[in-house]
Structures are given as structure tokens and as C-alpha cells.
Amino acid sequence: MSGVIAGEEVFRTESGRVLGALMRRYGDLDLAEDAFQDACLAALETWPRDGVPDSPGAWLTTVAANRALDRVRREARRLPKEVQALGLRADGVGAAVSPAADEELDLDGEPSVLQDDQLRLLFLCCHPALAEEAQVALTLRTVGGLTTPEIARAFLVPEPTMAQRLVRAKRKIALAGIPFRMPEPDELPERTAAVLHVVYLVFNEGYSATVSDTLVRTDLCDEALRLAALLAVLRPNDAEVAGLQALLVLHDARRRGRVTPDGRLVPLAEQDRTTWDGARIAYGVRLVEEALRTGPVGPYQLEAAIAAVHAEAATYDDTDWAQIVALYGLLEQATPGPLVRLNRAVAVSMRDGPAAGLVELDRLVAAGELPTHHRLPAARAHLLAELGRTEEAMAEYDRALALDASQPEQAYLREQRAALMPSRTPP
């Protein structure tokens, strides 16, 4: 029976490769998915009997390709000649198929060909013509090999809603003619950024999950790591791809220190760094150093570099804050925005003291930035408290609590505010 269990894991890992190959041949995602599903069902029947084949991917691709061909031939026999003459595929949907469709389906797979198909599939799923949530769902479904119920649970959305999202996305791909192809060299940076963004969204979704959430949510982090690693294999000379992989590895390496067993969030300053995975941190640091050497420098590399500086510090106070301030300065040039400035202000307060940090934060307030974000008043409150301005600090914590924060964050803010009570001077 262990052969069958191993086989089921194989379905997930082979999903991207098989679907990519079928897309190259037929350019129809629905057809590809149905054929792949048939192949998996066939495997579940025959593998327990005959054993898992040496090359399960090739087996699945062969069977799926046969199923797809059967269906296309059946449909073609039904359709009038005129429709066929128009060059529409058998199901009548005119999705743009790349010129490679006429080639023999390369079943034993030159690795580079299989990789190109997977990359094309990733680019297809993350096409900017699709809504962001559709990109995420489609990527997890086709390349991630997750089932629709799994994806629905992961994003806390009813299953029919997620199913509809996928149906609509595939429909748009077919009807609007979103092509299955490698983007042109001048399109690559933008299109790669879209894929990286989707992977980052998946990771963030899983990372925000607390201990009380289901395991599937934490599995999202693993799935994002797997996608990032896959992308690094498919696009080996892309520094931003390496940067994202480094960033996710460095976050993941410190995951256990973030949350207490009872679900409380632990701020970075108080985390037990012995729970951090030192070997994984070293790996992440190597990745980002290599990425920065490859260049050009981009936001994911910079975020990874910041994470690396944190991850390598023995304690919060020992952290190289000057370097972090400098990195945030560079990040602001790459991706300007109030959250980056907020993080930089916090780093400035660590490097130069609370008064200096407060000056930076007050600039944000004066500019009317982040009016509904709890982190700004929370950061001000922290610095005000350090400066002994207790009443103002408590007022800022109140302001923060009134804004949108998660349960664990609210609990933390209330704790911090309560801790100030003894320092109040009597009226």
C-alpha cells in the first residue's frame, strides 16, 4: 500500500510537468486537466497491482496524452468540416496554440523541454490579463497540483466559489486567446515579476496563518517554497528569482520563533533565536549573496538581504541596524512606499535612538500616510513609551487598537499598553 501513497504524492509533483506537456500539444487547459485526471485514476488502479513505474512522470504523460488524443479524435468526428477548416480545435475553442503543437509529444522528456513547458505553464497561469486571485488559484491547481477543496480551505473561501474562480480563469484563457508561450525577452522582467508576486502571495497567506489555523494553511508556505525552488531551476540566471527564493527560505527558517504554542505572536525583538534553523539560514544567506553578485539588484533581493541581516544577528540589539537602514534606503528607491518608510523609521530608531525614529514616523503622519494601518500608531507608541511620554504612548496604542489588526496583534498591543500603566504619573 505504501506504493499507492507514494503514487499520490507523485500526482502533485508531476502535475506541472504533465499539464505543461499537454498544453504544448493541445493548448487547452480543460482538456489537459481532464486527461491528467484520467491518467491519475488509471494509475490508482494499476500501480497497486503492477507496482509504481520507474518513471511515474513519463507513465502519466503517456496515458494522459493517449486520453487527450482519444477525446480530440472523438470530437473531431462529430464536428462539421467547415469548423475544422477554420483551424479551431475539436472542442471549438480558439485558444492560441504555440507553433510547437505539431511536434511529437516528447514523452521521455529532454529535461530542458519539460522545463520549458512548466515555465510556459507558470507564465500562462500568472498572465496579467487574469485577476490576481485567479492567477494564484490557477498556479496552485496546475503547477502546485493542489485539489480545488485544498485551495479553497487554504484561502478560507467556500469550495464552489473557488471552483467558479478556476472555471472563469480557464474560460478567459480560452476565449480571450491568452497564449501558451515564453514571453519575449522585453516582456520577461514584467512577466517574471508577476509569477514571483503570485508565489509571494501564496507564502504570505500561509505565513499569516497562526497555530490555530488548519495545517493546510501552513502547507501553503511549503508550496510557495517548492514553487520558488522550481522557478530557480527554470530561470537560473535571474537574480530576482533567486532573491525571492532566499527571502522565503529566510522567513521559513525562523518560522518556529514567531508564534507561541498557544498562538500568540512574538515580535522579532523577543523571539527565541535558538528555535531558528541555523542551517537553513546559512542556505538563505548564501542564496541572497549569490543573487546580489548576479544582479541587477531588485526588491526581492533587497528584502532578502534585510532578512539575512536579521537572521544572522545573535540578538535584536546586536543586529547591524546601520546596514538595515541602508538597505531600506535602497529598497525605497526600488519600490517606494509608506510601509518601506515605516520599516526604515523603525530601523533608524534602533540605530540612532527613539527620538530620531520618531522624527521619521512623524514625517509619515504629517504626509497623511497609512491612515488605517495599525502599525504606524503602534510604532509611534513604542517609541513614545521609550522616551517616557507615557500618556501619549497609551493614546497611540488606543489609536492602533481601533484600527484593523489581527487577533494576535491586538492581544499584543493591549499587553504593551497595559504594561505602561505602572509608569503613569499621578494626575
Partner: protein, 118 residues
């Protein structure tokens, strides 16, 4: 595949331009039309008269109603269109990006419905 490239434009953007800038944009339009004519992707294309020349017709149970003005009142209105035949959505998007009004307003790219698909 056939696509409509629907050109949405705010006339205020054009009014703010100098004579030289306006001429440059008109030249860009001409050059674009030429290019897609040569490539064979051009099927049709026209500018439309302004929204104050528009009339909307609706037929409801009570009968036909006719009203003055565009269907939707917004700062940007449908100013023109191109009908093109090109390889895929990506090519259609590339073409749309070359349309001068893409720099101020926006171009909506929609595939033509195919009754074989419906």
C-alpha cells in the same frame, strides 16, 4: 483571433496639449494604422464623434426609450476603435499599447464572440 481595441479617452487630456504635441500624437495614430495595415492585422478602425452626439436606445417591456448622451457618463468616453486580426491576446495587447490614447486613457481589448464557442 479577432479583437476589438476600444479606445477610451478624456478630451481634457487632448485639450491640454500644445499644437506641436497634438500633431505628434496624430502622426503616431497615422503611423500605427499604417503598420497594422501593412502587417495585415487591420480589419477596421474609426474615430467616433464625441459623446454629446451620442444617443442611447433601450427597449423595455413598456416600449422603446431614447435618451440623449452616452450610456455611461464618465470623464473618459469611447472615442474610437480598431478591429484587428492577430495571433493571440499578447499581440493584441502589444498593439493596444501602441495606440496614442493608451498614454492618457485606456484601451479595452475584447475578443470577438465566436458563435462556435457559445
Amino acid at each position: 483571433m479577432k479583437y476589438m481595441l476600444l479606445i477610451y479617452s478624456n478630451p481634457a487630456n487632448w485639450a491640454a496639449l500644445s499644437e506641436a504635441q497634438t500633431k505628434e500624437l496624430m502622426d503616431d495614430y497615422f503611423a500605427f494604422s499604417q503598420r497594422i495595415n501593412e502587417s495585415g492585422e487591420f480589419i477596421a478602425g474609426d474615430p467616433l464623434q464625441g459623446p454629446d452626439t451620442a444617443t442611447v436606445v433601450r427597449v423595455r417591456e413598456g416600449g422603446r426609450s431614447v435618451s440623449d448622451g452616452p450610456y455611461v457618463e464618465t470623464k473618459e468616453h469611447l472615442a474610437g476603435y480598431y478591429l484587428v486580426d492577430c495571433e493571440s491576446l499578447d499581440r493584441a495587447l502589444d498593439l493596444a499599447a501602441q495606440i496614442p490614447d493608451a498614454r492618457f486613457g485606456g484601451i479595452e481589448v475584447r475578443p470577438l464572440a465566436d458563435f462556435g464557442q457559445m
